[in-house]
Amino acid sequence: MTETVTEPPRPALPFIRYGDDGKPHVEARRCSNCQAVVTSNPYACPSCGKRNTLVPFVASNKGVLHSYSIVFRSFPGVQTPFISAIVDVEGGVTLKGVLRGVEARPEAIKFGMPVKVVFDDALGRKDRQGHSYISYFFEPA
């Protein structure tokens, strides 16, 4: 007999976490010594080198577009075009992701435009075991 377990989609990146309420968020860390912010979980703060100073916090879902590229040529199987975006999130976190809900042409994309961070299924991608994944996307705010 096999037991069916309903498992939430797995995070596409290690810093995507589920909160106690079951909702996904980006987990960042801020150094209590130098205030540097990272999305990794290193042995020591990469900015000041102090150990045990990186305190996790839930990143904001609001940000602004810092830079982007419209990608037309990618790896086989990856649908193009898409907008690869760098977003500065409130509170000092920088995220890289896909900006959607905007036409993929430079005239439609404004530097500094406000965006929100939304979570959604990872474009239908599944791993070899058939697990579903969740990731974040950027949308105009």
Binding site: R10, A12, L13, Y68, V71, R73, S84, G97, F111
Partner: protein, 379 residues
């Protein structure tokens, strides 16, 4: 520590190697460099060889050019691999380990787009969390400049027009073809604003240099072909909030350049020509500012005014650069030094910078690491 001189240096014409392994390419360049220096493998005291994609390259190379048992090391340091191998060879001479050292950079490249590999476990993130392909990463770096200073697609494209023009004068570049602005801007868009003609050429190649202590150069009477290493600096990426989410090629370059200027007792105005890391057209403009040859936000105007073209105030990438000479990763750092050496020896042919005294070579690899060398003509 005394000065170190390049006395033999060569690069092979960059091309697709058609099955020739990297150590064979490296061996040919090494033999040419040793011949020019008038030495054999028996004179070489240390060997530093670089390859970004092939492990154990120094020892593979020794099986081609002579297994003399000397200290040898295989170097891998992203796009700074060749420059790092050169630096290590230089330091072994400076430290008095040997009077003669050999540095080699050789590469047979994987084909296709670089970067953006999938996760070992889980799913591929390319196209999901942005793009990790090199054209996109460097497009984003260029667009940051565009956001700040209004730099345009056309200004970035002009870098490719210039460097392709330069390589029509360099028989060792893979391409000798003019590419007018309309052609560059109208080429297949890879990652806006980088079109296909604004991406460096994926080729194989090798370059090698023999370096000697001043005493050894004099003893052998080689000052007629010597080029002095005036400064050598290597910087890695100091912490910044956006890095590595957004790779930063600016800070490490600025740090390496500043250290090199300080070490050499020189400033950007003393430099007669530059070979810099134009892996993508968007990158070249950033480095005008990073290397201090113009002020912040002035790079767009500089390319518009032709200041970095042949005959301009400070010619950049006369070899054709990575965009048109080609970019076999580990060979690039030493190939840059080869180009500078040609000019400083007055042997650069149709692209010669008249009376060139100081040349600056720059590479930067993601992760990040940047090397800057300043070479000086021996008068």
């Amino acid at each position: 520590m005394g000065d170190v001189y390049i006395v033999g240096i060569d690069m092979l014409k960059f091309s697709k190697s058609a099955g020739v392994p990297p150590e064979v390419l490296g061996a040919e360049a090494a033999i040419n460099a040793m011949d020019e220096a008038g030495v054999t493998i028996k004179d070489i005291g240390t060997l530093y060889a670089g390859s970004a994609f092939t492990g154990g390259i120094a020892q593979r190379l020794q099986k081609q050019i002579g297994q003399t048992g000397i200290p040898s090391a295989s170097v891998s340091n992203a796009c700074a691999t060749g420059a790092t191998a050169f630096r290590e060879a230089m330091f072994s001479v400076k430290a008095g380990m040997t009077n003669i050292a050999l540095a080699v950079g050789c590469e047979v490249m994987p084909r296709g787009l670089l970067g953006g590999a999938g996760e070992p476990e889980g799913i591929t993130t390319e196209g999901l969390t942005g793009s990790a392909t090199m054209p996109a990463v460097f497009a984003e770096a260029g667009q940051e400049h565009a956001a700040k200073y209004g730099t345009t697609f056309a200004q970035f494209a002009k870098v490719s027009v210039k460097n392709h023009h330069h390589s029509t004068l360099n028989p060792k570049a893979i391409y000798q073809v003019e590419t007018p602005l309309e052609q560059v801007m109208g080429a297949e868009m890879i990652a806006y604003p980088n079109t296909k003609l604004m991406c460096s050429v994926n080729v194989d190649g090798a370059a090698a240099a023999v370096v000697m202590s001043e005493e050894e150069v004099r003893r052998r009477g080689l000052m007629d072909r010597a080029v002095k290493v005036r400064a050598s600096a290597l910087a890695s990426d100091a912490f910044q909030t956006r890095n590595p989410t957004m790779h930063d090629v600016n800070l490490a370059t600025q740090m390496a350049a500043n250290w090199a200027y300080e070490q050499g007792g020189l400033g950007p105005n003393d430099i007669d020509l530059i070979e810099l890391h134009d892996c993508f057209a968007t990158a070249e403009l950033l480095h005008y500012e990073n290397l201090g040859i113009c002020g912040p936000g002035e790079a767009g105007r500089m390319i518009d005014d032709g200041e970095t073209a042949i005959g301009g105030r400070i010619p950049v990438n006369l070899s054709g650069g990575l965009l048109s000479k080609g970019h076999p990763i580990a060979a690039t750092g030493i190939a840059n030094l080869y180009e500078l050496s040609c000019h400083l020896r007055g042997k650069a042919g149709a692209r010669q910078v008249p009376n060139a005294r100081f040349g600056l070579a720059h590479v930067v690899g993601l992760g990040t690491v940047s090397a800057v060398h300043i070479l000086e003509k021996v008068s």
